[in-house]
């Protein structure tokens, strides 16, 4: 009896001290991660580097012990199967318990469709591309986070670069893909160009559909308009086709071409010297910051060894996003004193500031990311290098929380552009 009373007293006394340890969970053996990207169709030219980078960075993380001891187990979903199937796959993965967090998606259209599903299913979703500024426009998504850039800072950056690099440009031709990303980009770039130089005019605006094999008529139409600037956010196989065809027909000699996603094709097509190319964020493995980052260079070397090409920026964006997820789990584990709950992971993601392979990303209160923008010009060499680079602070060129993005762009001034870093300033 005495023994029982002693044990009871000890357990009561020790109870409060042992409580936190009892609540904290042990790390599971595996962390399921859904990874959505295009691995088929013309968009695979952009999506496969993302798939490859995910595979590589997950292997590296797992080789280092995983996240708090949990190995990442990815399930890859091909966005090329179409929007409805992508939503079904998301629901299936969220429902069968095999996935704890989603890294989704490439297509802005898929992101817009998946975001409310993520909220509905209470499944954390961290976007790795999802450029559309409409993602958090007028809708809160408590389970969705974008530790990446979006259309407004991206296309304001190009306009700012053009305003300083080609100050006399007056006539703009635009050729963008015929869906929200293309139309949004045209509207933002045009608004920003007019804000920085009210005299500019759009002399041709073309929106060929995704997967267009030949752009010959569009090239003739643009050439006939005699533009000073040709702006395009074509991407993937479409961008490769356009560059090859436009280059053969002299378009790069007659106008200053701006390719918003140009870095992604530097290794696949012969881009003439002096084309303004962008990265959609800071994910350039060969930027000055990335060159000073041992992990970034190691990742690039490993990628080159495994896949035979240097990682283009979609690959770096994917790797950076998965590193943000890793850091969020680690911060949540530290706060929880053990394996975190879903709520604790969401809490960590909601205001994270993470060092990525290519810079720093901050997630704001609206779950949107602040990421620097890198713009430069092609060097004409066989290696993926950029000349005359400028690095724009994400904070400087991203609309404040709660402000209509397009209205914010129209409030910009030539003085604003003049105060931004000059081409060539990012050494």
């Amino acid at each position: 009896m005495k023994t029982i009373l002693t044990a009871l007293a000890l357990s009561l006394a020790a109870g409060p001290a042992l409580a936190p340890a009892a609540n904290a969970q042990d790390a599971p053996a595996e962390l399921g991660m859904g990874v959505f990207t295009f691995t088929s169709g013309p968009a695979a030219a952009y999506g496969m580097p993302g798939r490859n980078a995910a595979e590589l960075i997950i292997d590296q993380i797992n080789a280092d012990g995983g996240i708090g001891g949990a190995k990442i187990v990815p399930t890859y979903v091909d966005e090329g199967q179409g929007g409805e199937s992508v939503v079904s796959e998301f629901r299936r993965l969220a429902g069968d318990g095999s996935v704890d967090i989603m890294v989704a998606a490439l297509s802005s259209g898929n992101c817009m469709a998946l975001a409310p599903i993520a909220d509905q299913l209470e499944m954390p979703m961290v976007t790795w591309n999802c450029d559309t500024h409409q993602l958090f426009l007028g809708a809160e998504h408590p389970y969705v986070f974008r530790p990446n850039s979006s259309t407004v800072p991206e296309f304001v950056a190009y306009a700012a670069y053009v305003a300083q690099k080609v100050p006399d440009a007056k006539r703009i031709a635009i050729i963008n893909p015929d869906y929200a990303f293309g139309h949004d980009a045209a509207a933002i770039f045009t608004a920003a160009m007019k804000a920085f130089n009210p005299d500019v005019e759009v002399v041709a605006e073309l929106f060929p559909k995704l997967g267009t094999p030949t752009f010959n008529t569009e090239i003739s139409r643009i050439a006939a308009a005699r533009p000073d600037i040709i702006f395009s956010n074509l991407w993937g196989g479409d961008l490769e086709n356009f560059v090859r065809q436009a280059s053969a027909r002299g378009l790069f000699r007659s106008s200053q071409v701006v390719l918003a996603l140009g870095e992604s094709v530097l290794q696949r097509v012969d881009l003439p010297e002096g084309v303004i190319v962008g990265v959609l964020g800071d994910g350039f493995w060969n930027s000055p910051d990335a060159k000073g980052n041992e992990a970034a260079q190691g990742f690039a070397e490993a990628y080159h060894e495994k896949f035979g090409e240097w990682p283009v920026f979609p690959g770096m964006k994917m790797a950076n996003t998965i590193l943000v997820v890793k850091q969020a789990y680690e911060e949540a584990m530290e706060a929880a004193g053990g394996w975190p709950t879903k709520a604790q992971v969401l809490e960590a993601l909601s205001d994270i500031e993470a060092e990525t392979l290519t810079g720093t990303v901050t997630v704001r209160e609206d779950h949107d990311g602040l990421v620097d923008q890198i713009v430069g010009v092609s060097t004409g060499s066989d290696t993926p290098e950029l000349a005359d680079m400028a690095r724009y602070s994400g904070e400087a060129i991203t609309p404040p929380v709660g402000v209509d993005p397009i209205e914010w762009v129209s409030t910009l001034t030539p003085e604003f552009a003049a105060e931004l870093p000059a081409p060539g300033s990012y050494q």
Partner: protein, 298 residues
């Protein structure tokens, strides 16, 4: 007004490629009475084979001029291998069957070919532009065009003439014409209709593969090419009148010009331009520009 000459050149160049797609489709329909959705696959396979063989030969250091015979020989190779084989193993079972059955069978074939292409060639785009590079460029109305685009226009004219000569002045052509007019009477007269069907189908495959091969030097070859081709091919064949070669040629020109005019004047209408033309033509002439109502035998 400044745009008229560029629009004309662009329109004819675009028409040429559309014509290659549509003419094989319409020839197969006129002889076999089969709506062949898999025709788009032959276009894509022609492009893949031309790019792969061309790439192999060019990387071996051959003269870029060799790329022209390679384009034609690639199409011939695809036709020789796939034409008789597909006709004997799949298409012949659809003869005389309802159109829905024909479309289901050929659509299934199309899907199989799409997956096979991905399996063999992957999802990346392929390029082989030696033929474009070697021909150079021309300045027409202040716009730089590829001479290869002009060559395509000339080749489309050659194909129209060659098909006319083949159909009206060769033994095979006369047999095809007889079978088109009445297969049963033709068989009674001693024409081996099975061989005529196989020959016509193979010619159709050759024309589709030739279209793909000729398109490949100026465009990336990637999954999805066949779907684009077959949709446009059906639209043009329907506008021209199913089974009408001259109709396909005229319809290709109309559709090509319509798309170009849309791009120049109202770009948002470009994706639907072929179907607006089809709607307008079929409302006035339900059997197409060159088609005619036929009595249905019961």
């Amino acid at each position: 007004m400044d745009f008229i000459l560029p629009m004309l050149v662009d329109g004819l160049a675009a028409s040429a490629l559309i014509f290659f797609i549509a003419v094989g489709l319409t020839l197969v329909f006129s002889v076999l009475r089969v709506l062949n959705v898999a025709h788009g696959s032959f276009y894509a396979i022609g492009a893949y084979v031309a790019v792969v063989i061309g790439g192999f030969v060019m990387s071996a250091g051959a003269s870029p001029w060799l790329s022209f015979p390679i384009l034609i020989l690639s199409a011939a190779l695809v036709a020789a291998l796939l034409g008789p084989a597909i006709e004997r193993t799949f298409i012949r079972f659809t003869y005389g069957k309802p159109e829905a059955v024909q479309i289901l069978v050929t659509f299934a074939l199309f899907l199989i070919f799409e997956d096979l292409q991905k399996l063999i060639f992957g999802v990346q785009a392929y390029y082989q532009d030696a033929a474009v590079s070697v021909l150079g460029i021309s300045d027409i109305g202040g716009i730089i065009y590829l001479n290869y685009q002009l060559l395509l226009i000339a080749l489309a004219v050659v194909v129209v003439v060659a098909l006319r000569v083949m159909l009206h002045h060769t033994r095979l052509g006369k047999m095809i014409t007889a079978v088109v007019a009445d297969p049963e009477v033709s068989a009674t007269l001693g024409i081996d209709t099975r061989r005529v069907y196989a020959a016509a189908f193979t010619i159709g495959v050759f024309l589709a593969a030739l279209g793909g091969a000729l398109a490949s030097p100026n465009s990336g070859v990637a999954p999805g090419l066949g779907a684009e081709a077959i949709v446009l091919g059906f639209a043009v064949a329907a506008i021209g009148g199913l089974g009408q070669i001259e109709g396909a040629a005229l319809a290709a020109i109309i559709v090509g010009i319509a798309r170009v005019v849309a791009i120049y004047q109202m770009p948002q209408l470009e994706p639907v331009a072929p179907y607006l033309v089809m709607l307008a033509v079929l409302l006035v002439r339900p059997y197409g520009l060159f088609g005619a109502a036929t009595a249905r035998r019961i």
